[in-house]
């Protein structure tokens, strides 16, 4: 599982834009448990944006698990 800096940067920016926070606030832990900005609706919005930006489709089970920046990065790396 190697990280791709381009994907990471682009994901971090997307998360920041959708959640309405500055990009430097999007740490690996940034997610539903740590950030009030991360609402369930925003999470759905983010999933759609990630899907269209990176050309992937998450399964129903994955949709429920995508509750932090880290989880998004992990799932994207595994594609």
């Amino acid at each position: 599982m190697t990280s791709n800096p381009t994907t990471d940067d682009s994901l971090r920016l997307l998360v920041a834009q959708v959640m309405g926070v500055p990009p430097d606030k999007v740490t690996d832990d940034f997610g539903a448990d740590t950030a009030p900005a991360w609402t369930s609706l925003k999470q759905l919005m983010l999933i759609s944006q990630v899907e269209s930006r990176f050309g992937v489709v998450f399964s129903n089970q994955e949709v429920g698990e995508l509750t932090s920046y880290r989880r998004f990065a992990e799932l994207l790396r595994n594609r």
Binding site: L14, A16, Q17, V18, G20, V21, L41, L44, M45, I47, S48, Q49, E51, V57, V63
Partner: protein, 613 residues
Amino acid sequence: MNATARLREIARAVPPGGDWPSYAAAAASLDAAEGLRDAVPENRRVRIAVLASFTADPIVPCLRVEGARAGMWVDVYLGPYRQYMQELFAEQGGLLEFAPHVTFVAVDGDAMWDMYWAEGRPPAATFAAHALEPLMAAVDQFRDRGSGIVVLHDVIAPMSLAEGALAFADERSFSSCVPALNRELRARAAERPGTLVFPLADVVAEVGRRLAFSRRQHYRGHVTWSDRLTAEVAARWVGYAAAAVGLAPKCIVLDLDNTLWGGVLGEDGAHGIAIGPQWPGREFVDFQRQLLDLQRQGILLAVCSKNNEPEALAVIRDHPDMLIREHHLAGWRIDWEDKASNLRRLAAELNLGLEHLLFIDDSPHERAWVREQIPELAVPDLPADPSEYAVWLGSLPSLVVLQQTEEDRRRTELYREERVREQARIEAPSQESFLRSLRLRVGIEPLSDATMTRTVQLFAKTNQFNLTTRRHDEPTLRRQTAEGVWRVHTLRVADRFGDFGIAGAVVVEPRGEAWHVESLLMSCRVIGKSVESALIAAVARDARRAGATRLTAEFIDSGRNAPARTFLAQHGFGMLEDGLFARSLEEPGLEWPDWISPWGDERASVTAGVETT
């Protein structure tokens, strides 16, 4: 940089129809721009309410950014998920407190499809009535209590239906229900004041249904509209909101060569330019048709072109295939001066603010020059290919006319009369002899059903001669007059050159000893004719008859209403405190000018309440 320029600057980070994360980021920048909201003039702050049958949250940042692009600060009230009926029926709460300028009620095709299945596939006519009855009752409730205009959506089937080739003949098919619903919706909206139907089906057709709806998002989170449709709808809703508060363009200024016709007149000659029934030329005929459709709604057309005036006018007057003729034009500047200066002159001649002009020119160079010289003027990018002109104009979101009055239909004529009048003024030996020569007639009448639409429009659009720039809407005017809190009168003006129709209004609160002028406004077309003296004289007369001894008047500086401030000084009002002026009714200076003939029964005493005619 002023506040409007800052708004536009932030919006420029997102191209129109850009991706949703960019809209969200730009909306965050609006919030982060310190003091920006407060710096935006009151008349450019617009409140939009959104009530939807689906998750409409993503449209909020799009509305704010598209608003900023149009130089407005948009605040959005988003009703709770799917609670549009509850919100409209509520006797108190968020929506009413928000006091929206426009409320969009977006009930989508999926909601109708659900209802249709729940009712067991009813016949189209029954279904249309069932579906709309409660919705319209809710709209009526809100219109009685709330503010602003209400905009409903037409209905579009969420997908191609598997009802088959015979569905067209089956009155129980959903394919039959959709047009029945839309007919019923249009009819019911048309009979209600301030209630409109937004053509969502047109927007979806432009985007394409597969791209307009995102089924995966719809099922996952009931986010039915795709990012693309959301952005397109937001831009158009902002156009409606701008029109509702009087910020929509009032005049389209057109270039000639390669804009109204193909080719360059100076090089190709009158017989060489492209305009006519076949290509090349047909695309310009269609563009002119679209422009004339806008003109019919009351948007003025004018010309600003670098050409020799006699040659260009000869084409406009005599070319057999031109549709736009001299009598369609409110004014023109055809010479070799730079276009920014000519646009300023045209605006002055038409008595319009520069922000009310929209300039259309095929030359990117001219457009850039005008944008740089006059940042407040709207200069959209005309497509490079003339085949796209007509389509482009039809979908330009800012060209929205929400009300049409007799005055709108006659507007171009009114400007022609003004040119003749201006000539008389130049030739008259003194101001008073000029005013006498006009043979002015003025009528001051209680607000009635017949004058309501025009009066509401004046409240929405009048900027210069407006004491308080309060944008009263129809429900407010009706409620306040019915309760006797306000006496509202309209000003009707005519002179020997023509009829201005309803050109002003005054709202007075009769407070016993001291009557209070809550609003007083007048179309800039009748400024300089002393008719405002007749208007305030009528107020003074009624106040004296009722036993009052003083008049007070409010003034709110909007940055653009200096003429109204001068009016108070000229009529003997002194400042009591910031924004509050007063004068005694016992001192002279409020007489009806003797060069103005009273019209009809305006000297008769009037009663509070809206008269029904």
